[in-house]
Each structure stands twice: as structure tokens, then as C-alpha cells.
């Protein structure tokens, strides 16, 4: 009798199993966890952007009610505790390396941004800690702050170790070939663009709870991290000089990261340190203002672009000169984001024979800038796709056709770009065609004319993006300046009854790994998904893993799981061969059953599992009992998702409000494991991209005060800012991982800003508007309309 079991395998839009707890408010986040005897930490932060600390008087705070400890930078220095480190550096043009100034856990001698931690007060309650912090008297000698990063080299020097406030001056590509192409070009399209500064705004603010066990001299840290093992490594090896075995890091449910929770911040390190000093568990949770002030921000780039074309409008060269703001201190990935993750993507989907880029990373008296959803690739895509659109208009071609003639042809893969990457596979025309069809591109002018009758300006804009994700081959990462490996780990434990526990080094903070990873295992083993449990986020449970960022979880983490399951299947075949008295070579595994080829002799997967743990009839002389396998997967290349997004907008000239009226996204993510989750990722990514393009802008005033430090002044996208997205796919499966998967987490945020700004400019093009910076706020758009009309009137 054949019983049909429903397998929610690869390709099935299974509902997210983790949503039950999240939707019912039962998620268990760091701040939900409390320990007996716990005390609260509150950080006194600098309210000036740049100053020498003349003195700190903590006497009154020490004796305030409920206070159990007040510490400053000198206490940290006395205990020789190190600060956060930079995880990736690049060489400079002059042969020197990236300048890496120290970042003390609490300010020592100087403060460098508004929000820099000057002291920590630990008290019985948060209110007591806050009140006591008010009693601390810090005497500053204020220095001129450096806020404008483009001219930061002329400002006051922020770090002794960083001359001209320049952390690095990096280059990639062939400068002379590129300049030659520009000199000999039939046309050179020039454009300057800016990527506005963004605040990541994860729904859950950062939090840490540290506990010290004096009996076995070990620490446990619960924290909001995207990669608990890296947090443990940095804390143990670089800050506290303790064995890693003496520190357990748990990242329980984490409410969004978008990059901002990759890094080790000073607060969790101070909590770990204070938990031993005080001998009680220490908790800290950021309020929203602290999140605005101290979470690493994103983007803040300016680019000067020169695109060289020949007589046939084919691209013959691209030069990009970039200056970016890295803020007051170097953060873990702040150097790699504007260099490797940006410069290597400048070829986009196009066959460009000569590319050169120079990037200068500047120090300013603003909070650190690091990875934010897309990290470097949105900047590359934005400048390239804005330039492509501008070039198409300047040469009088349809933007789609201009892209099409410059696409890397389908038969050119694997394609070696002029900026280090080799794209394994791709096919760009199908997603361009499909996106155009989805949005009914050919009838757009009718819609524009119809909108004009209503007094509205309607525009259409596209963006054909590529991204490199799934970080990445360790050897390549190492050669490019990375200081960590970029493999991923998995441990697959088959329990005696045939259920499975999967331990992954990836970390889920919204991605839905509990569902997606279970689908992979269920599919490969032919067992129901509910028999698979996914465990992550605890360094005492999971194998050492690299965590989740850069859309790497499925391509790297999923592949590691797939490899571990393959090992389980191989061992199971040996057990089955023994039980079925057949040769291992004759055993086929299909639909959860081990069958002797050409016979009806079979063993179910559950029977094999039981035999492995109750090895009464078992080849013990040649095979270990038990059924549990580890795998470490190091990719052989990045994965290269690509796609075309087309935005359609209507602008009301009376108010300058841009309404996004339609959106077509056609992406090539390779094979999809759970199309519903993928679609959710696309939606979320586009929403964040629309936020960047129309609404969000972190603004410091000339004194280095963050003026957009609350939701009153920092505008986030809401449901009514978004259209109903049309989402479609093409598929060229990745050639170098077993699952044929790419990555989908960042694509929406990468593709959408240029598509939207291109659409806004297209809408205003009848007025002669040719440029628009992000965010295209109603004020800015209205002003552009007024100015164009006054020009027309003259």
C-alpha cells in the first residue's frame, strides 16, 4: 500500500511556520528575557559632535539612589579591554592600507559624534540609571565638527591616525584604458549623483543582556545580532582576550536587522564587561532616539560618473569617482561596502570593455556608516541606472533599447567583467521583456496623455540591476582584504524516530529560515516538513557560522544544509544496504524510501533512523551508529541575481507629491524554494527603496546635531505610499550550488531607487527637468516644477 505523504518541498509556497508566534505577539526578543538580580545600564552620550573631554565628574552619580556602578573610558582602559574592529580593509592608491583608528568602548579623551558614549551608569532600574546620568558633569573643549564629508579633508582632524580625515583612497580597474575610451568616445555622458543617508530602523531596537558566572568564569550574552558567532569571536578574541568557550552568545528572536545588527557595538561589550565588574546580570535596551543616534547608518555617497559611448551607442568605457562618508569610527564592514561591494558591480548587466573607479572613504563627526540592505550594490546600481537612463535620453533612444544593445549577450557567460567579478550565468533580455509586458510598456504614452488631461504628470522609469551576493568564496574574500572566512555551516541531526533537527550557522531575523530550510530538508529526504525543526542563533547549540547578511543565507547556509543532508543520505544507504542485504550501489533513494533497484524491497527513512540509534542489526564493524552530519560549505563564486524593475508614477503639480501608481518587478533569483517568502522579500525591498527614493533622509546640521532623530522628522514609507506590486520571475539557475539558488533579500532595495527616480524625471521631462536627487520630496519636486515654469516664462 502506498501512502501518499504531502511534502512541502522546494518550490512550494508554504506559510511561514514561525509566524504563529510573531503574529500572536509571542516572539521572544532579548528585551523580553530577564535574569534574577538583573540591573540596567544607561549610557551617557555626548551631545556635542567633536570635543576634547577635559574632565568627567561622576561623584554625584555614584551616590545617587539605586546606582551600583558608574564607569568611564578610563575604567575600560585600566582593564585593557579592546574596542570593535574593522572586519575588512582595502589597500590605498599610495600603497598604504586603510587607516584604522581605535574605537574605545567608552570615549577616551575625545568624543567624535553626537551619541558617542562617554560613561555608563548601572542601576537597579532604568529610571534610576537615567536620573543618575544627569548628575554626571562632563566638561568639553569643543572642536570644530566635520559634517560635510565631501570636504572633510579640509576639516579639523578627527583621529590622530587618519590624516586629512581619509580612511582610504582606493581604486579598481584600468584607469588609462578607461580614460582613453572617454577621450576617443563619440559621446560622453556625465552625471553626478548622491545616495542619501539612511537610518536602518529595524523594528526591534538593539538590546543586550550579559550575565557572568563566577563559578566557571564564563559569560552568557543575549543580544540583537545577525551573526552570534562573529559577535562571540570579536568579543572573546579582540576585546576581552578570553577563550571562546567562556562566552556563549545567543541571538534569540531578532526583529529586523537590514545590516545594522551585523556588527559588535560598544553597548553589548560594555554590558559583558560590567556584568563581571558588578557581579550581576546587566541589561541595556536602546530607545528609539538612541537607535537613530547610534545604529550604523547607511549609504551617504556621492559619485561623479562618465559614460563613454561609440557611434553606435555602445558603451566603451565607464569612470566613477566616489566620495563616501564612513562616520566617526570604522565599523565592521564600513570599508568593504563602498569599495568591493560597490566598485565590483559597476559593470551592471552591461558589456563594458573599460571601467575604472576611485573611492575615498572619509571620516566625519557623524555616527558610523555601514551596510544597509543592499550595501554598496544599491549605490552602484543607482549611479549606473541613472546614467543609463540619462544617456538613452541624450542619444534619443528608448531606455529599454539602449539597455538591450548594451546587455552582456546570453552566450557570453561565464562573463569576466573589468572589475574583478566573473558572472557565472545570466540572461537579461527575458526579464526586461517580461517586466515591460507586465507594466504594459508599449501603451505608456496613452496613459501619459490620459493623465495630462487630468492635470497630472505621468512618468515611467526602469532599472536593470545586478548584484553579487551569497558572500562568498573565502579565498576571494581573503584576497580582497576580508578578515573572515565566508563559508556557512550546518549540522543535521536525525533523531531516532526519524524527525530532524537542523542546526544552521545562518541567522533568521525576519527571513523565514525555519520554513525555507525545513522545506529543503523535507524535499531532499521525502519527509513531511513538520518533522523538521530548524535551530539557529545560539553559539552553544549551532556549529560556528557566519550569520546572515548580503543575501547569503540560502545560497551559502542552504547549500551547507543540502550538503549535510547528502551525507545523511549516503550513510543511510549503507545502513539500508545492510538491512536489505544488498549492495550499497544497488540502493536507490526516492520519496523517502531506500529501495533495492528493480525489486520491491525497501526501507523507509524512519526505519533507517531507528536502526542507526538501536544498532542491533547494524554493520557496526564498518559504520558508526547514529545519524548526524556536519557540513561546511564554501561557495566557489558569488551568486548573481539580476532583474528589471519598472516604476510608473503620477505627480500632482499643485503639491509636488509623487504617487507610485504601478510597479513591475521581474527578477532572476535562480530556483525559488518558497515563492511566497521570496515575493515578501521583493515587496519589503522595494518598500525600503521607495523610502530611500521619496521619503527618507538622515540630516545632520552644521554642528553635527542629528536633526532627523525621530519619526517626526525622519519619514518612513507606509502602506499608502506603496502600490500593489506586480512580481514576476525568470530563471537561470546558479551553476555552482546544488540548489541552483541565488539571493533575493536585497534585490528590491537595490533595483527600486533608480527606477523610481528615473520615472519621476521622466514625468517632469516635458517641463525640461533632467535631474532629481533623492529623496524626491514633495517640496523638492514642487520647486523643480516651479523653477522649470519660471524658466519657460522667461
Amino acid at each position: 500500500m502506498n501512502e501518499v505523504t504531502k511534502i512541502d518541498g522546494i518550490g512550494s509556497s508554504v506559510r511561514r511556520t514561525e509566524d504563529k508566534k510573531f503574529l500572536t505577539g509571542k516572539g521572544r526578543y532579548t528585551d523580553d528575557i530577564n535574569k534574577p538580580g538583573q540591573v540596567q545600564a544607561y549610557f551617557l552620550r555626548s551631545d556635542v559632535a567633536h570635543a576634547e573631554i577635559k574632565s568627567i565628574d561622576t561623584k554625584a552619580a555614584q551616590s545617587a539612589p539605586g546606582v551600583v556602578g558608574v564607569f568611564t573610558g578610563s575604567d575600560i582602559a585600566a582593564d585593557k579591554i579592546g574596542g570593535p574592529i574593522c572586519g575588512w580593509v582595502v589597500p590605498c592608491r599610495d600603497g598604504s592600507s586603510t587607516k584604522e583608528p581605535p574605537h574605545p568602548l567608552l570615549a577616551q579623551g575625545k568624543v567624535r559624534f553626537v551619541g558617542d558614549a562617554v560613561a555608563v551608569v548601572v542601576a537597579e532600574t532604568m529610571e534610576q540609571a537615567k536620573s543618575a546620568a544627569e548628575l554626571i558633569d562632563v566638561d568639553y573643549n569643543e572642536l570644530t565638527p566635520v559634517v560635510d564629508f565631501v570636504n572633510a579633508d579640509k576639516g579639523a582632524q578627527i583621529h590622530e591616525e587618519v590624516p586629512n580625515n581619509c580612511y582610504f583612497d582606493w581604486e579598481l580597474g584600468d584607469e588609462s584604458a578607461t580614460n582613453k575610451a572617454i577621450e576617443s568616445a563619440a559621446k560622453v555622458v556625465k552625471l553626478s549623483v548622491r545616495n542619501n543617508r539612511l537610518v536602518p530602523n529595524a523594528m526591534e531596537p538593539r538590546s543586550a543582556l550579559a550575565e557572568y558566572d563566577s563559578l566557571d568564569e564564563s559569560y552568557t550574552l543575549h543580544t540583537t545580532s545577525q551573526n552570534p558567532h562573529l559577535t562571540r569571536l570579536v568579543l572573546a578574541a579582540f576585546m576581552f582576550a578570553i577563550p571562546e568557550s567562556k562566552l556563549r552568545v545567543i541571538a534569540p528572536d531578532v526583529g529586523g536587522g537590514f545590516g545594522s545588527k551585523i556588527y559588535v557595538y560598544i553597548e553589548e561589550a560594555v554590558c559583558v564587561w560590567a556584568s563581571k565588574k558588578i557581579g550581576r546580570p546587566v541589561k541595556w535596551t536602546a530607545d528609539r532616539t538612541q537607535a537613530f543616534l547610534t545604529d550604523c547608518h547607511g549609504r551617504d555617497h556621492v559619485n561623479d560618473v562618465q559614460l563613454a559611448l561609440d557611434d553606435n551607442n555602445k558603451i566603451i568605457g565607464l569612470r566613477v569617482d566616489t566620495v563616501c562618508n564612513l562616520g566617526a569610527y570604522l565599523s565592521a564592514f564600513s570599508v568593504v561596502v563602498p569599495t568591493i561591494l560597490h566598485g565590483t558591480l559597476l559593470s551592471g548587466q552591461y558589456d563594458i570593455p573599460a571601467i575604472y573607479t576611485n573611492v575615498k572613504g572619509m571620516a566625519t563627526n557623524t555616527v558610523n556608516v555601514d551596510a544597509y540592505r543592499g550595501a554598496g550594490r544599491p549605490e552602484a546600481t543607482y549611479l549606473l541606472e541613472r546614467t543609463m537612463e540619462t544617456a538613452a535620453k541624450e542619444v534619443g533612444m528608448d531606455p529599454a533599447e539602449f539597455r538591450r544593445i548594451n546587455f552582456i549577450p546570453k552566450d557570453a557567460f561565464p562573463y569576466q567583467t573589468q572589475v574583478a567579478l566573473q558572472y557565472d550565468i545570466g540572461d537579461y533580455e527575458p526579464h526586461l521583456d517580461k517586466a515591460m509586458e507586465m507594466i504594459d510598456y508599449s501603451n505608456f504614452e496613452k496613459r501619459r496623455a490620459e493623465a495630462a488631461k487630468r492635470g497630472m504628470y505621468r512618468g515611467i522609469g526602469m532599472s536593470s540591476y545586478i548584484e553579487a551576493c551569497g558572500l562568498a568564496p573565502s579565498a576571494v574574500v581573503g584576497a580582497l582584504g576580508g578578515r573572515v572566512g565566508q563559508w556557512e555551516s550546518a549540522s543535521v541531526r536525525v533523531n531516532p524516530t526519524g524527525t530532524i533537527s537542523v542546526f544552521t550557522g545562518s541567522h533568521s531575523h525576519g527571513q523565514g529560515h525555519a520554513t525555507t530550510f525545513a522545506q529543503i530538508v523535507a524535499d531532499k529526504l521525502g519527509i513531511p516538513m513538520e518533522n523538521v525543526e530548524v535551530i539557529h542563533g545560539d553559539t552553544d547549540k549551532t556549529p560556528f557560522g557566519m550569520g546572515s547578511y548580503g543575501s547569503r543565507s540560502l545560497a551559502s547556509g542552504g547549500s551547507a544544509i543540502s550538503k549535510a543532508v547528502d551525507k545523511i543520505i549516503n550513510k543511510s544507504k549503507k545502513i539500508a544496504a545492510h538491512l536489505l542485504e544488498a549492495s550499497e550501489d544497488d540502493i536507490d533513494f526516492k520519496d523517502g524510501k531506500f529501495v533495492v533497484g528493480g525489486t520491491d524491497k525497501e526501507k523507509a527513512f524512519g526505519e533507517i533512523a531507528l536502526a542507526a540509534y538501536v544498532p542491533h542489526n547494524y554493520p557496526l564493524e564498518t559504520l558508526e551508529p547514529g545519524l548526524e552530519e556536519n557540513a561546511f560549505y564554501d561557495p566557489t563564486n558569488f551568486v548573481f541575481p539580476s532583474g528589471t524593475h519598472i516604476a510608473e508614477v503620477e505627480i500632482d503639480p499643485a503639491t509636488g507629491v509623487v504617487e507610485v501608481v504601478d510597479w513591475a518587478a521581474c527578477d532572476d533569483f535562480g530556483n525559488l524554494v518558497n515563492p511566497m517568502i521570496v515575493e515578501g522579500q521583493v515587496h519589503g525591498g522595494i518598500a525600503q527603496g521607495i523610502g530611500q527614493a521619496l521619503l527618507e533622509d538622515a540630516h545632520y546640521d552644521e554642528n553635527g546635531q542629528l536633526l532627523t532623530a525621530s519619526y517626526m522628522d525622519y519619514c518612513m514609507p507606509r502602506a499608502d505610499d506603496l502600490p500593489s506590486f506586480k512580481v514576476g520571475y525568470t530563471n537561470t539557475p546558479c551553476t555552482h550550488n546544488d540548489l541552483g539558488v541565488k539571493g533575493c533579500g536585497e534585490a528590491g532595495a537595490i533595483a527600486s531607487p533608480p527606477a523610481l527616480i528615473n520615472a519621476v524625471i521622466d514625468a517632469l521631462s516635458p517641463l525640461g527637468v533632467t535631474d532629481m536627487s533623492m529623496p524626491a520630496t514633495p517640496q523638492k519636486v514642487w520647486k523643480a516644477i516651479q523653477e522649470s515654469q519660471s524658466v519657460a516664462a522667461e
Binding site: 551631545d47 556635542v48 553626537v114 537615567k130 546620568a133 544627569e134 532616539t289 537613530f292 543616534l293 546640521d701 554642528n703 546635531q705 542629528l706 536633526l707 532623530a709 525621530s710 517626526m712 522628522d713
Partner: protein, 152 residues
Amino acid sequence: MEIKDSYELPLSKERVWAALNDEQFLKKSIPWCEKLERRSETELAAEVKLKIGPMSTRFTGNITLSDIDPPNGYTITGSGKGGIAGAASGSAKVKLIEDKDTLSTTLSYEVSAQVKGKIAQLGSRLIQSTAKKLSKNFFGSFVKQLEDMDKS
């Protein structure tokens, strides 16, 4: 942030100047001022309670008088700390110009102010309007008191 305004008073320049240098008189002109004490010829200590947007906070700070040019004007420079709400600093250039014909004096002021910390983060949009309101309140009630005194 800069704020400018002026008032015409039916009083002599000397009379207005005397009032500008009388801390008790000044204190009465500042309803939100809880303390104003003279420390020296040019220094005063102040405590004021202010509401800026969503924040109500008490500032303690020092006021320094400079560019003293009796009876033509001076510059008041102040900085105050408002605890976790942040800090504020600013200066006001006060000038007196007498019209001999009408026996009146024009008091003009130019205020520039800066804020730090939470006030900047949460209240920056409101600083201009708050500072304008406070300046108007102060000089308004200063003038009114002088006029009342003159009547009585």
C-alpha cells in the same frame, strides 16, 4: 538660527539701559525664569524652565554680558544645560537708539541660538518658533513693565 525684532519705547535711553542692567527687573520680565542672580559686573547665573515641543525641561546656566556700551547696548551670551534634554546656547545683541525729537527709544535685538542633544533631535523643527516666542515674550513684557512703571 537668527531672530530679529525691535520695539519703540516712550522713554529715554538711560531709563531703558538702567532697566536692562537691573537683574530684578529682568527676572520679572521673564515669567519662565526661576532664578537670576548677579555673580559679578558681567556675569549672572540663571535657572529657567522651558517647554520646547514635547519636552519640558529646566536649564541651569550662566549669562555673560559683553560689548557693554552704556547706554547704547550690550551683548548677552548664555549657555545652559538641560540634563538629558540636552543643552542650549545663544546670544542676543541689544541696541538702544534714542530719538531726541520724540523722546523715545528704539530697542532692537538680534538673537542667534544653538541647541544640542535631545532638543536638537526631537525639537529642532520647533526651535525657531519657540525662540521667537520666548524673545517676543521677554522683550514684550520688559517693555510693558517699563511702560507700567512709567505710568505709575
